[in-house]
């Protein structure tokens, strides 16, 4: 089985199945960490959001980010699933999962992956509100979180 699973899709994913896949036949892994991003409900009357991406480049950038994570930590398996298209509050947007030897590297690698994904992978969110549509602005806090890993 491939050590890396990378999917950009309009379809929902099954977190349990993804965790099972990450842990199945795990040879030297002693830790599995995951992150799931959701469409936040109840903020400013956002009724839905649409994720746009750059087919081809998005997958390439995520592959580069995964390769960078694997160069920094000994990871047996990595899964990144990112959804595109129109999503409702509460729906899953992104899954990041890693299997590694120890929890410290699993936690770190998982956080690194989502931090870099947010600031480097070409996705854009368009929110629907009662007042109309608006593009989500990139946030300095996300940039700062991503920059922590540059040191």
């Amino acid at each position: 089985m491939d050590a890396v699973k990378l999917v950009v899709t309009a379809e929902d994913f099954d977190p349990g199945a993804e965790i099972a896949l990450l842990s199945s036949g795990a040879g030297t892994s002693g830790a599995l960490a995951t992150f799931i991003g959701l469409v936040r409900g109840g903020t400013d009357g956002v009724s839905a959001m649409t994720l746009e991406h750059y087919p081809g480049m998005t997958e390439r950038e995520i592959a580069k980010i995964i390769a960078e994570a694997r160069s920094r930590w000994a990871l047996e398996r990595v899964t990144v699933i990112h959804r595109v298209g129109r999503l409702l509050p509460g729906e899953r947007i992104v899954f990041v999962g890693v299997a590694g030897r120890h929890r410290a590297e699993a936690f770190a690698a998982c956080e690194f992956l989502i931090d870099w994904l947010k600031t480097r992978a070409p996705f854009w969110k368009l929110e629907e509100t009662a007042a109309g549509e608006r593009w989500v602005e990139s946030r300095d806090t996300d940039d700062k979180r991503a920059l922590r890993w540059e040191e």
């Binding site: 750059y54 081809g56 480049m57 947007i93 070409p122 854009w124 969110k125």
Partner: protein, 82 residues
């Protein structure tokens, strides 16, 4: 040369992609951007946003990056996925 736009830039310019034949003496992304701004008021406004990211053949590039006639060059706002 194929130019592609995403997100707010695509909406503002009104098209997702266009084929262009810029003058042969345009050598860099910055020069291409200036030339593209002259295509329409919508181009000028969208491409003058404070932060416009660029990719050449699906790899991030900079203002000084060299451009070639058969490149696919993308312009888009800062990314907001995850």
């Amino acid at each position: 040369m194929k130019i592609v736009y995403f997100a707010a830039l695509r909406r503002e310019i009104g098209i997702g992609e266009e084929s262009v034949a810029p003058p042969a003496d345009l050598a860099t992304v910055a020069q291409l951007l200036d030339w593209l701004k002259s295509r329409s008021p919508a181009h000028a406004k969208a491409l003058s946003a404070p932060r416009v990211l660029v990719a050449i053949n699906q790899d991030y590039a900079g203002q000084d990056s060299a451009i070639a006639a058969d490149d696919e060059i993308a312009f888009f706002p800062p990314v907001t996925g995850g």
